[in-house]
C-alpha cells in the first residue's frame, strides 16, 4: 500500500504524478515526494515500528516505494554509539555517533538512498540504472544493481585514481571514464540521463532517491528513545542529507510519534569546498559556486543542488555552519579512531572537526545531547592519511631487538619467566 500522493515542486507547489520526473516544468524548481500524512498517522505507531526487523524499511510508510523493496533488505539501523571517551575529551555530557561507516552493503549512507532509488526504478520498470560519482555513490549503485540483477552504468572523470575505481569495478558494472574537466563531465551526464531511458539515480530518480536519507534521521530518534537530539552535525556535499534529516524529525512530529522538534541543525563542510557555509556566515541566500580543493573528496561539490535548502534548514532550526581545514579533518579522524575505535572517511573528520569547533565556540551547549553524523568508512579514503599517522617501527626477527625497542621507549610490561 502506498502513502505517496505524487510529486510536488518545492518552489511553486505545482503537483505532478508519481513518475520519473525531477524538475518542475514551470519554474525549474526541484520536485519532492508528497505523502498522505493523515493516512500514515492512522497506520503507524511506535509499537508497530519497534516490532519490525532492524533495517530502514521499518519506516516504509514514510519511504516512497509502493510495494516491497527490491534490494537493500539489510540496509540501515546502524549503531547509534554513546561516545563516552570522546565526551571526556570534548568536555560534553551526552555525545552520540550515528555510524553509517558500517552500513550494508557498501559502508556508507549512500546505501540508503540507492536502495530506495533502485527499488523505485524496478517499480517504474527501468532496465538500467546509472549514476555519476567518484566514490560512495558509485560503489553503492554498482553493488545494489548487481544484487538485484540490473544492468548498471557508472560515469566517472577519466583521471580518477585507480584505487577508487576498483571498489566499483568489482561488482561487474560498466564504468565509463569521461575525459574533460568537471563541468564537462557534469553536463555530459545530464545529457545522457536526458537521452537514454535509464534510471539515473541522482538525476531523474532524485526525488525518490533523496528520501532514503530520511531513515538516518528516523533511526536516530528511535535509538534515542523516541526523542530528537538537541544538536546534530551533518556533512554537506550537495546538501540533500541535512534537509532530509530535518524533514525526518518534522515528519515524526507530524504523524504524532514525537511531541516536539527542538533540534539545532549544524552543517559541516571542508574549508576547501564550503559554498554553503560561506553563505551562512555571510548571511546571504545566494550560494556562490567554488572550485573544490580538499582531501574530503566525498564532500567536494562546488555548486550544490540543495545548497539553498540546506542553508534554510540551518537558519530555521537556529543552528549554524562551520568548516574545517584538511589538517583539522585528519586530526578529527585520528581522534575518533583513538577514542572510540571508529575509522571514518574524511567526511566524518569534517563533522567531528566541526562539532569540536562549535563546542569550543559555545554554539553547541556542553550539557545537551549532541549527535555527530558519521556517513562513510575510513577504509575507502586511506590515501588521505598516508604520512600523517606515523609508521611501524621495523625490527629484525629477534626477541632481543623487541626487548630493546620496548626498553628504549620506556615501557614496562610484566613478562612470563
Amino acid at each position: 500500500m502506498s502513502y505517496v500522493k505524487g510529486l510536488k515542486c518545492r518552489e511553486c507547489g505545482k503537483e505532478y504524478p508519481k513518475e520519473a520526473l525531477h524538475v518542475c516544468e514551470l519554474c525549474f524548481g526541484p520536485l519532492e515526494v508528497d505523502y498522505n500524512y493523515e493516512k500514515i498517522k492512522q497506520s503507524v505507531t511506535r509499537e508497530i515500528i519497534s516490532k519490525r526487523p532492524p533495517n530502514m524499511w521499518r519506516y516504509k510508510e514514510l519511504l516512497p516505494i509502493d510495494g516491497e523493496p527490491a534490494v537493500g533488505f539489510d540496509v540501515g539501523f546502524t549503531p547509534l554509539v554513546r561516545a563516552r571517551n570522546l565526551e571526556k575529551v570534548l568536555g560534553v555530557n551526552e555525545l552520540y555517533l550515528k555510524n553509517d561507516a558500517v552500513n550494508h552493503p557498501t559502508l556508507s549512507f549512500k546505501d540508503r538512498v540507492v536502495a530506495v532509488a533502485i527499488s523505485k526504478a524496478k517499480e517504474f520498470d527501468f532496465k538500467v540504472v546509472a549514476c555519476a560519482s567518484t566514490g560512495n555513490l558509485a560503489n553503492s549503485v554498482a553493488a545494489n544493481a548487481a544484487a538485484c540483477g540490473m544492468e548498471s552504468y557508472v560515469f566517472i572523470p577519466a583521471d580518477l585514481e585507480q584505487t577508487k575505481i576498483l571498489g566499483t569495478l568489482v561488482y561487474g558494472t560498466n564504468v565509463i571514464g569521461i575525459q574533460g574537466n568537471y563541468d564537462e563531465v557534469n553536463r555530459l551526464c545530464s545529457e545522457i540521463a536526458g537521452k537514454y531511458g535509464w534510471a539515473f539515480v541522482n538525476i531523474n530518480i532524485r526525488p525518490y532517491y533523496a528520501e532514503g536519507s530520511k531513515a538516518y534521521g528516523y533511526e536516530i530518534v528511535e535509538q534515542l528513545g523516541w526523542r530528537v537530539p538537541k544538536h546534530i552535525i551533518v556533512p554537506m556535499a550537495g546538501g540533500s542529507l541535512i534537509t532530509k534529516i530535518w524533514k525526518s524529525f518534522k515528519e515524526f512530529q507530524k504523524i504524532g510519534l514525537i511531541d516536539k522538534v527542538d533540534t539545532k541543525v549544524f552543517g559541516a563542510q571542508a574549508t576547501g569546498c564550503a559554498p554553503i557555509i560561506t553563505a551562512i556566515k555571510e548571511g546571504t541566500e545566494l550560494i556562490r559556486p567554488v572550485r573544490p580543493k580538499t582531501i574530503a573528496k566525498s564532500l567536494a561539490i562546488g555548486n550544490p543542488a540543495d545548497g539553498y535548502y540546506s542553508a534554510k534548514v540551518m537558519r530555521e532550526s537556529n543552528g549554524w555552519g562551520e568548516d574545517v581545514s584538511d589538517d583539522e579533518i585528519i586530526d578529527a579522524m585520528k581522534l575518533l579512531a583513538e577514542t572510540e575505535g571508529i575509522f571514518t572517511e574524511t567526511a566524518g573528520g569534517v563533522t567531528l572537526g566541526v562539532a569540536k569547533k562549535l563546542i569550543e565556540q559555545g554554539r553547541i551547549a556542553r550539557n545537551e545531547s549532541i549527535v555527530v553524523s558519521i556517513t562513510g568508512n575510513g577504509l575507502k579514503t586511506q590515501e588521505a592519511l598516508v604520512g600523517k599517522i606515523g609508521a611501524p617501527r621495523i625490527i629484525n626477527a629477534k626477541l632481543s631487538e623487541f626487548d630493546e625497542l620496548i626498553a628504549k621507549e620506556g615501557k614496562v610490561y610484566a613478562v612470563r619467566m
Binding site: H22, F28, N186, I203, A237, L286, I301, P304, A305
Partner: protein
C-alpha cells in the same frame, strides 16, 4: 530538441547581452525562464531549443565568454 541550463555570470560580465548574441549567431531559440542578478553574481535559467549541434555551439560560445554553464540539476557527480 530542448535543453536546460543554469548560466552563472561572474560580476564583470553581468551587464553583457550574451544571450541575445547567442540567439543571433546560432539557430537556437533562447528562452530565459528565471534570472537573478546582484553585484556579486548573475544567474540565469535558460532553455535552448534547436538542433543538437547548434545548442552545442551556443553552449561553447557562453563558456568561451567566461560564463559557467551547468545542467539544470547543478552538480550531479557525487
Amino acid at each position: 530538441m530542448k535543453k536546460r541550463f543554469y548560466l552563472t555570470y561572474p560580476p564583470e560580465l553581468i551587464t553583457e547581452p550574451f544571450i541575445y548574441e547567442a540567439g543571433k549567431r546560432y539557430k537556437v531559440v533562447t528562452n530565459v525562464r528565471q534570472a537573478s542578478a546582484s553585484n556579486k553574481l548573475g544567474l540565469v535559467a535558460l532553455e535552448l531549443e534547436g538542433e543538437e549541434s547548434e545548442i552545442e555551439k551556443a553552449v561553447k560560445f557562453f563558456i568561451d565568454k567566461g560564463i559557467k554553464v551547468e545542467p539544470i540539476e547543478l552538480d550531479i557527480v557525487e
